[in-house]
């Protein structure tokens, strides 16, 4: 449900990615991937411009391949709803190094601000918990965001899920690069995998 004093998405994402060290970040289609670009480009950013519903599964694939690297998926409520089953898949695999953060403005911001299911009856934290992600929480203050940040770097205690209520303001578009081959090979290179 909409509330006053909702968080600013850019401030939240800047906090999550501050002093990130080797963390890989996957940005779901839409404003979330732009928020990652606004926080500063990084060779371990996986920017998505499509493949709606796939962000969590891409994060899982990376997390399983790189168990010593923290992986965070930052996505929106609409993108998460489209890949809702992936929460069950993640829970079954128990990747200790994977965190999923949903920036929930209860809106499809890219298409005109139509309300999503989270504006009505859907509770993503409840879904994540019921799928088996025990460490699932709702966040509504910057204090809680700051408390989440060190946990993102803990490789053993995941998977974790956080649903952060943000305001529905349309912020300035800061577009990340969109050449997928370059983006994915840059991540591979940073993890020590040479080009084919």
């Amino acid at each position: 449900m909409s509330k006053a004093n909702l968080l600013d998405r850019r401030t939240v994402v800047a906090s999550l990615l501050k002093d990130r060290k080797g963390m890989v970040a996957v940005g779901g289609l839409g404003a979330s991937t732009n928020d990652m670009a606004a926080a500063g480009d990084h060779d371990r950013n996986l920017y998505l411009w499509g493949a709606m519903g796939g962000a969590v599964m891409m994060g899982l694939g990376i997390a399983l391949a790189q168990p010593d690297v923290p992986v965070v998926v930052i996505t929106g409520d609409g993108e998460m709803l489209m890949g809702i089953g992936s929460l069950a898949t993640v829970a079954l695999q128990k990747p200790g190094n994977l965190s999923i953060v949903v920036l929930d403005n209860e809106r499809y911001g890219e298409t005109g601000g139509q309300t999503s299911h989270t504006a009505g009856t859907a509770d993503l934290v409840g879904v994540a918990k019921a799928c088996g992600i025990a460490d699932s929480c709702a966040i509504s203050t910057m204090g809680e965001v700051e408390a989440l940040v060190p946990k993102l770097h803990d490789l053993k205690s995941g998977p974790r899920f956080a649903n952060i209520k943000i305001d529905k303001a349309n912020v300035e578009r800061i577009l990340p690069m969109r050449d997928g081959v370059f983006i994915v090979n840059r991540i591979r290179g940073s993890l020590g995998h040479p080009p084919l």
């Binding site: 890989v24 996957v26 493949a51 391949a65 991540i187 591979r188």
Partner: protein, 181 residues
């Protein structure tokens, strides 16, 4: 037609083990799948493997995204599914050209050889075309004797040449599911 019964020929056939050996040879580490009877013997091998991780999916499109993540993280993956699952993947298959993925999938076919359940026929009839129009090469194994060679060729071109490839295991090979005798 090879009708499948509880004591299916697949239980004693060598080809599921031959597919497993190819996946091992190509150092495949992540094996996402939606369970399918035709893949059951192979899945047992995967789930018992020390080097491969079998990853159960809720829908096949999750597997395409997982393959992309595995590649970004430096591991090879192979997606196992049934023909009906191919339709679930269509938008996510965009990732294959966009990331130039070494995409490899092995698909058990339904709806094409002595099928009882006609609900399998529409998707089974379009499986190959869906792959081809999505830019994925299709190879097919119709008989047990050719499975190893076809899967090996598919894996080689997918992983070595980044040529996304689907191997279809025909229903003639697997046997039609027996609903009534």
């Amino acid at each position: 037609m090879h009708a499948r019964t509880d004591e299916s020929e697949q239980q004693t056939a060598a080809w599921p083990g031959e597919i497993f050996a190819v996946l091992e040879k190509y150092d495949v580490r992540q094996v996402p799948y939606v369970p399918d009877a035709g893949h059951s013997k192979l899945l047992e091998r995967v789930l018992g493997s020390k080097t491969m991780r079998g990853i159960t999916l809720t829908t096949e499109e999750e597997g395409v995204a997982l393959v992309a993540g595995a590649w970004a993280g430096g591991q090879r993956a192979a997606l196992l599914m049934q023909s009906s699952g191919v339709g679930n993947c269509i938008n996510m298959l965009s990732l294959v050209p966009l990331f130039r993925l070494p995409f490899f999938t092995i698909v058990t076919m339904r709806g094409e050889w002595g099928e009882f359940n006609h609900w399998q026929v529409p998707m089974g009839s379009t499986t190959q075309a869906v792959f081809e129009i999505s830019g994925i090469k299709v190879l097919r194994a119709n008989a047990a004797s050719e499975v190893r060679e076809v899967v090996e060729a598919g894996a080689a071109q997918a992983y070595n040449a980044c040529t996304p490839t689907a191997v279809l295991l025909s229903q003639r090979l697997i046997g039609a599911k027996v609903f009534v005798k």
